[in-house]
């Protein structure tokens, strides 16, 4: 049995924080009470971080629009798994960029690598003129 939760917000940088905190509190519900603290902590942090990266990416690549575009973050809540997708109206992009070479002291480009590392699944698709990235992790 899965439940759908949707969060729509303006594509502004302050809302990356909001989306990540909502994701963390949902992840906390997936775990429930009887998990020990560090497993709970890791699962919640994974979603807090992944959603923070995904929404930050959407917002920072939306510069060419004047008014902020609305983003939709959709959560599919299941007993042992949480799936979250982020939909924006930005131009198409690829999630297969390789991580930056560390020796070059890079300041950008870490976001996608972080998501790939901490989520079980991470996919991208184009839907009409919208990007949808989908991330999921199970217990």
């Amino acid at each position: 049995m899965s439940s759908i939760i949707t969060l729509t917000l303006p594509g502004e940088i302050m809302f990356a924080r909001l989306a990540s905190q909502t994701a963390s509190s949902l992840a906390d519900l997936v775990i429930g009470e009887n998990r020990e603290e560090s497993a709970k902590r890791k699962f919640c942090h994974a979603f807090e971080l992944a959603v923070s990266e995904a929404v930050t990416n959407s917002v920072t690549h939306a510069e060419e629009f004047d008014a902020p575009q609305m983003l939709t973050v959709t959560f599919e809540f299941e007993p042992r798994q949480l799936t979250v997708s982020v939909r924006d109206a930005n131009p198409p992009f690829s999630i297969d960029k390789s991580a930056p070479d560390i020796e070059s002291y890079p300041v950008h480009g870490f976001g996608l690598k972080i998501i790939r590392e901490i989520m079980d699944q991470f996919t991208y698709r184009r839907d009409g003129d919208a990007n949808i990235i989908t991330m999921s992790k199970s217990l």
Binding site: S3, I5, T8, P10, T22
Partner: protein
């Protein structure tokens, strides 16, 4: 800070009251900005945690049994230092003019709307089509 409109749609189940509450607290933190550690900031966030937890729990408690799963929609709108949150559900109409429970009678319910009225600056209820909308606002 321009004005911003956020919506959160959740299944009408007790389990999700915490997500509603924590999201309300996060939005309130955005309105407060960096003085979230000051007492005024903490009270402002706590007020919205309480108000949203109560309003959402009321919607869940009175949700009708129906084939299609019932949902509760929260919208957050903030400008400068004022935050307005409204809670939409498809339940039967109700009133927010409930009497204050008489504490000596050890009441077990009726506290919800009392808490909302005490912690929020303004509370209004209206009917829109077959939806209830309770709007609550507070200025920092």
């Amino acid at each position: 800070m321009n004005n911003s409109n956020i919506t959160l749609t959740l299944p009408a189940e007790r389990l999700f009251a915490r997500v509603a509450r924590q999201t309300a607290s996060s939005v309130a933190d955005l309105v407060i900005g960096d003085d979230r550690h000051e007492p005024a900031g903490r009270d402002f966030s706590h007020a919205f945690e309480l108000a949203v937890s109560e309003a959402f729990t009321n919607s869940v408690t009175h949700a009708r049994e129906s084939a299609t799963p019932q949902v509760v929609k929260l919208t957050f709108f903030f400008e400068q230092r004022q935050l307005v949150v409204s809670v939409h559900d498809a339940n039967d109409p109700f009133t927010i003019e409930t009497p204050v429970p008489d504490i000596e009678s050890y009441p077990e319910n009726g506290f919800g709307l009392l808490i909302i009225r005490k912690v929020m600056d303004h509370v209004t209820y209206r009917r829109e089509g077959n939806y209830n909308i309770i709007s609550m606002s507070k200025t920092l």
